[in-house]
Symmetry: C2
Amino acid sequence: MESQDLKKAGLKATLPRLKILDILEHSRQRHLSAEDVYKALLEGGEDVGLATVYRVLTQFEAAGLVRRHHFDEGHSVFELELGEHHDHILCVKCGRVDEFYDETIEDRQQAIASKAGYSMTDHSLYIYGICPACQKRA
Amino acid sequence: MESQDLKKAGLKATLPRLKILDILEHSRQRHLSAEDVYKALLEGGEDVGLATVYRVLTQFEAAGLVRRHHFDEGHSVFELELGEHHDHILCVKCGRVDEFYDETIEDRQQAIASKAGYSMTDHSLYIYGICPACQKRA
DNA sequence: CATGCGAATGCGAATACTTCTCATTATCCT
DNA sequence: AGGATAATGAGAAGTATTCGCATTCGCATG
Ligand SMILES: [Mn+2]
Ligand SMILES: [Mn+2]
Ligand SMILES: [Zn+2]
Ligand SMILES: [Zn+2]
């Protein structure tokens, strides 16, 4: 029971929040838009408003349960925060998303921020390209 | 006269396009939103519609005259394409934008894309942090 | 386990940004 | 200069997201 996870994050264990957490955990795709989550709720027969989905996802983000990304698509996508930071590589043809982590890049970013006198708080790195499957299909 | 630049890009040299190009070239800030450009036009006494600003900026982007960025602010910002690729570091307090270029990061990105079997077409890297001035102000 | 208060929800309206439609106007080739 | 055609301005429409508010729910308490 993950009511505890929510309580720990200072959030009441309400039905919408539990259901949304469940969808984020068990969906086939790790990266979901608010609309995706909303559709999944409806398919599951749940009666949750879209505004609530947005509210809850934003709260989850603030609580560190979820991470929000901007994949150059005009809408936010969310994924469960599992502690291990990573960046993304996306196919511009089919929308496939892969993840990677590169120590060298992480280090260089810090160095660049320092050199510019900034105290770095975050970063976002997206690589866009054509995935193997879409290259064959061409 | 940069009518030639537009013609070369396959675009008619209309007044709105010339004015917008002028604003992009001579504004104190290199990174402008559509709204910024629109305001600058109005201040210059020009009668150009906001829809035209959006249309023209999109055409400029397609023609390679301008580059569009998504600075996690919910709207697009544009800057003149001057040939030299660079990435951005942004202050989360005051919105200041600095630019940088790092060969090591560029190389690593290529390597990561290749290893994942992608043919890389583009990338976007934003570093977020607190700028020197805002750190002192804290 | 019933009760009550504040927090959370669902709904529709509102907002922010961007694109579309279409009648009017401007550009540029001859 | 004249006409075919592309571009523009104004406002409506479209997305994604947030807000306002009456109603409902979670949960500490008795
Ligand atoms: Mn991810
Ligand atoms: Mn720049
Ligand atoms: Zn693909
Ligand atoms: Zn600053």
